[in-house]
Symmetry: C2
Subunit: 331 residues, 2 copies
Amino acid sequence: MGGDHAPAEIVRGGVEYARMSGRKVLLVGQPEPIERVLADLDTSGLDLEIVPASQVIGFGEKITSVRSKRDSSIHVGARLVRDGKATAFVSAGHTGAVMAVSKVIYGLIPGVDRPALPAPLPRRTGGYTILLDAGANVDCRTEHLRQFAVMGSHYARRIFGVENPRVALLSIGEEDTKGNDTLREVARILRETSINFVGNVEGTHLFGDRADVVVCDGFVGNIALKVGEGIAEAIVGMIRDEVTKTFFRKVGAFFLRRAFGELKRRTDYAEYGGVPLLGLKKVSVVAHGRSRAKAIRNALRVGDAAARGRIAERIGADIEELHRAEERLVH
Amino acid sequence: MGGDHAPAEIVRGGVEYARMSGRKVLLVGQPEPIERVLADLDTSGLDLEIVPASQVIGFGEKITSVRSKRDSSIHVGARLVRDGKATAFVSAGHTGAVMAVSKVIYGLIPGVDRPALPAPLPRRTGGYTILLDAGANVDCRTEHLRQFAVMGSHYARRIFGVENPRVALLSIGEEDTKGNDTLREVARILRETSINFVGNVEGTHLFGDRADVVVCDGFVGNIALKVGEGIAEAIVGMIRDEVTKTFFRKVGAFFLRRAFGELKRRTDYAEYGGVPLLGLKKVSVVAHGRSRAKAIRNALRVGDAAARGRIAERIGADIEELHRAEERLVH
């Protein structure tokens, strides 16, 4: 029931994934609107089931009021995963609500203090750089950042297939002496673990090929993402302004339309679909609020891969190693 | 003597500004290389003077070693301003060195704790949004951010001619409740001053027309700028990659060359030249390390305008008002 195009596009994405994967897809929400969408689709031979949830959480709702809506589609979906009736939960709804509800229903991996939200950033050379935390945690201490490094590393490995992900800290200079006390402390401990820690990177390197995972606190991460979004829109807008100024430029723009189309595809969130919340015992995947069927289909694929890759168990093991390194350095 | 193209382009910029403005320009540095550049230029009727400085500070030097080079072009230039022999100092050299030396030689405006470095960001609709601090202060307390708001407001007014600059805080949501404790405290006090405080803006708004001045700490500011730079390069690079893939696209690109040229001009730092360090008793302007004559000429214009607009005195008066507001709210 979540997202700008719910339930139609969400249901369509679910149906498409059921067809592609041969997996069973549970559609959680108000049965009638879901049934109306299904009636228009070819669902023959697919394993689909509607699981009723009477409540809907709106985009504007506060987290405090969300918690009391215990029969929302988010609550019901997460409970299906907790109870072993589903392997992963996908939602294009209220991100904060998905996080809060998933955290309560699944619980955190032992040794993890806070869940993190990763963001894949498209690179010029192809592939993605994963930035985390992307906004879930505003004020972070050193132990949170270290845990993000472990979680991001497993995400890059299991979902994007990076063999030995290079992990870096987002800072204001590449030297270890740059940045602040928190970052220096994080670096010191990461060097003692099996994480492939490559040091500091700067904001300019996020869209290059310096690191596969870039760690920062949620405040900085959110600003970095929003600045990126803002400047991308501004540049594309400025190009459009300039391009349509004269007849000859319009001719040029005609020939370039496909190039711009491919650029858009390369930077489209629907390509990777959604991101799993990291640090929880089970899998919830957050899809963009503007998701259409393709994004949902890909988000379901991500959820499936995260569950099959046993991300939670693997993160748990590495968090233990991290804590041992912390103890060695402190004592 | 500072910058990638020193001394040739720096001297040329000085000569151009002397011609345009009719003002006297002092060229500070090693006399021989400066004289060699001047010999090739038409300087008839211009009021130019070489002021010798025997030492040069390199880009890689540490701030601690910089302080002992007391006859560097930065030291000599700042002393000329302190002693009333010049109204403003411009350098394309080591930014940290210009800041450190200017701070020691000029002193801070009473009530200002730290100087700030502003960064003008080009908007799609024309004009600039001023982001500060752009990297001078890594860890900031609430009082520093409030002072940046005052300083940025005067900079927008005197250098960019904005009548009643809208000042905002860079945060992760527009509501006052978003962000962190520091930002909430800053907002509470700014509302009590005569500053035209408009609340929080997000990273996406930096390149739009929501605010004229956007305040943040230097860590966040540096990351925002570097992310912007990185994504701009990535987008332009991706467009270039796509555009040159087929013959028809190359034809399109030919027609669009001028449009890209204009876009480049709109986002070129040489257009505004350089930025004054804010919070000091006298004027030092930092120009880009890659500055050529045009950027230096414009940086000299900025220095002149900052001195004539008596930015330091006006900041001083408003900092007093700020301290009175702080006291009212505390008591």
